[in-house]
Symmetry: C2
Subunit: 155 residues, 2 copies
């Protein structure tokens, strides 16, 4: 059974993620239950940043015993171990991302899609320490808000 929905991710890229995931789980001593694997598989194969409920709904038919609580607990576990990251694009539900490369997000205000976006220029921001008032910056998040290609043509 697979949990692949759209073809954003190529088969090869998905397999690469899954392979890395299995490896990391081994190193971390995390057991690979069918639930965990299914949850990760959804995220690895879909770059649309699904939320917990989305993930649950997609797996449920193939794994009817799955409970939503497990999805939440598993996503938190994954996040704690750096296997996925959490995106708060809008105020509502958290959405998850298996893309661990440094990247930012395009956030479509019309359809609420969140699209990964990579740009070397944005990896280090030209922030002058004067304005920071002693704040020690560890990392940064950039959201570019706008209208995605699909929504522009649809309208």
């Amino acid at each position: 059974m697979t949990f692949i929905r759209d073809m954003d991710m190529t088969r090869a890229a998905i397999d690469h993620r899954l392979h890395a995931f299995r490896g990391r789980c081994g190193e971390l001593g995390l057991s690979l239950t069918p639930q965990r694997l299914a949850i990760y598989q959804v995220l690895a194969s879909d770059d649309s940043h699904p939320g917990a409920e989305d993930i649950y709904r997609r797996i449920k038919p193939d794994l009817p015993s799955l409970s939503l609580g497990t999805v939440y607990r598993t996503l938190e576990l994954f996040e704690e171990h750096g296997l996925v990251s959490r995106v708060h694009a809008f105020g509502d539900q958290a959405r998850f991302d298996a893309n661990l490369d440094s990247h930012h997000h395009l956030v479509c205000i019309r359809c609420r899609r969140v699209i990964d976006f990579q740009d070397a220029q944005l990896e280090r921001l030209p922030v002058k320490p004067e304005g920071l008032n002693g704040f020690r910056v560890l990392t940064h998040r950039i959201h570019l808000l706008g209208v995605c290609h699909r929504c522009q043509t649809d309208a």
Copy 2:
């Protein structure tokens, strides 16, 4: 009665905001009820980005009839009319900001403070359209995550 808590904002700056606020409300045809004024006053005088509940708690003693629902409705109204903006720094509650100048946020991962941060360099990002895949960028949000000055010295 005043709702000023900390002295981030100078009296003059607060008055300036309040004045502009009254003006905009007039233009927009929004009635200035005591509740609305009190809610705006909290935001105008406190740059710590309080949430709805915070605002409610701070006004309640002076205006005991106030209900939390009104706070939510009012904040939404203000946001719709561009009088305040909404910040989703963490996944939990939304936080609000009367600072309408273009700015970004320093987000302290320890104490969860959100600090306004202005930097002319960051107003236009060097984003090359190639990576955008047709996405039309309208605006951007930058969160610098790290540890604020207070938390560094406390620790």
